[in-house]
Symmetry: C2
Subunit: 356 residues, 2 copies
Amino acid sequence: MTDPSPTPIVQFDALRAFISRALVRVDLPPSDAEVVAQLMAQADLQGSDGHGVIRLPQYVKRIRAGGINTRPNIRVVQERAAMATVDGDNAMGHLVVSRAVDLAIVKAREAGVAWVGTRHSNHAGPASLYARMPVAHNMIGLYFAVGNANHLPAWGGMDMLLSTNPIAAAIPAGVEPEIVLDMATTVAAYGKVKAKAKRGEMMPEGWMIDRQGKPLLDPKRSEEGFLLPIGGYKGYGLALIVGLLAGTLQGAAMGKDVVDFNKDSVTPTNTGQAILVINLEAFGEVSVFKSAVDTLVQDIRASERLPGVDRVWLPGEQSHARRQAYGEHGIPVANALVTELEALAKDLGIEPMKLA
Amino acid sequence: MTDPSPTPIVQFDALRAFISRALVRVDLPPSDAEVVAQLMAQADLQGSDGHGVIRLPQYVKRIRAGGINTRPNIRVVQERAAMATVDGDNAMGHLVVSRAVDLAIVKAREAGVAWVGTRHSNHAGPASLYARMPVAHNMIGLYFAVGNANHLPAWGGMDMLLSTNPIAAAIPAGVEPEIVLDMATTVAAYGKVKAKAKRGEMMPEGWMIDRQGKPLLDPKRSEEGFLLPIGGYKGYGLALIVGLLAGTLQGAAMGKDVVDFNKDSVTPTNTGQAILVINLEAFGEVSVFKSAVDTLVQDIRASERLPGVDRVWLPGEQSHARRQAYGEHGIPVANALVTELEALAKDLGIEPMKLA
């Protein structure tokens, strides 16, 4: 018996080109479309498939509704030797955050460390993309963002004043792949809940609770409950601090001002993000640091394992493996998504995504 | 029936003076002893009683064993506009970290943001003490430290290459108390396990596992198992990143180089810590930021609550209340600790701690 519907495969360049075509069609300047398409395709390339081309229909919808400024004046509005605030003028988030990271790298080269935040930005894809950018410059990246929909109440509360506010960190290594952590401050990201609902599966206990504080297991009832933070009140504290650093500090939305971009495609989100870049060169010999990271990675990997555990992974190691495999063999795209993207292409009057 | 042993009370100044006497007796210069005593007493004042005077016997033991340098040359060994590395010369950690925070505040005043790390430092008490220092200067503090004993393996592993590596953050508010998060990256700090053992209580499931991966509930068997990170692999990733930032980046101990200061009082620990200071003034009107924090705090506090929840707390709010109550009425000290401190005073030939 042959598989009736093998998973379609798209090559990185074909994916990037398709996204770019779609964005140009809805009036992004070609150079901006190219930057966004490159980052969205990189998300899929590393397996962050909840943040890649799957978001394209939503982005197109928002752009068409006037909820994104396609001719933005992205500019620095506050600046010192080791910090800046970038006003994104409601541009696509990928453009705003890339600009912030580039500036932080330049500043960290001199000052040793730099913090650049954004306001009037938008959803920008997976946090790890931006945390990883400084690594090629022998720099550490730490990234904080305010999530684009509130699904998390304060610990003990029910008003959803917080989002899954992610943290990402990327640490250069020597012969080993860089260490890359990219985590929501909730046990499960909301995208995972939506994916469970789509597949008709139940959620494990610990992901969500209902308004009685009881475990909520049916993802189709997710609107009746709340996500749970990691480590209970600790994750609540982390989500709050990340939101204050990425949002409030930058003059971006936080708390009740956060716009749910799943339900509202028009109101500017005033999304905030922040990147901290640490220039290894300022701290001593870069090679000494990298060797120390390699040793730690190798010690962890060689660690004795709990019964039933095949391998001890480093954060980012599985994404690294996927980048290599998908770069060589192409990126798998779910059949349902391919169908959705074909409809989008038809709707936009552009050439559909070329499958491998 | 009267309580046979009411909890003894000590006033802040009496506590501070006692700690200072003890440290001077083991050869700390009076001005250094005063700095350390002030910080240790502040730990007890805010209810961080696992990091206050309870540590004095251990510190004295280490100093007498030659494991702490009482005449250190604490100095800056790397420096740029927005960063520095402070070599603590194996001094008491409180002295080294205070110096690092002071320097970070000065640098952030100009550069907007500054990162100062330590190497050859030692245990310095609760992370929140240092994160809070910049708040009086209208600055945010973020603090990272490598814990002084490894009790955490990588996720799936059994080699204890990681510690509870804490994170602390302090965010200035306006009329509200500052928001202060101070958390270990494990579900329970190891001190809590030791406290359960002392009281003869069992641990709840989720704190520790044994070498079969099964829940470990008896704290007396803690040496046979491992702490669990918050959020599973997420907390493992956080502990790893915090250790790399606070330890490896600074040239301080991390991974298998971490010295267990509970078992070894002689070997220099080469402890690493790092503080990131963010100067609000660089980002815009300080009063606007503080008002936004106040509003968020008030929205969270006024949140609808889950059944059975009396109050929604902000991180740091309970410590804040304790600082006020203990400052007014004195600090409770467990009878067993009072006895231990009396024995220490006798041993050192100093006046015992004066109880209220």
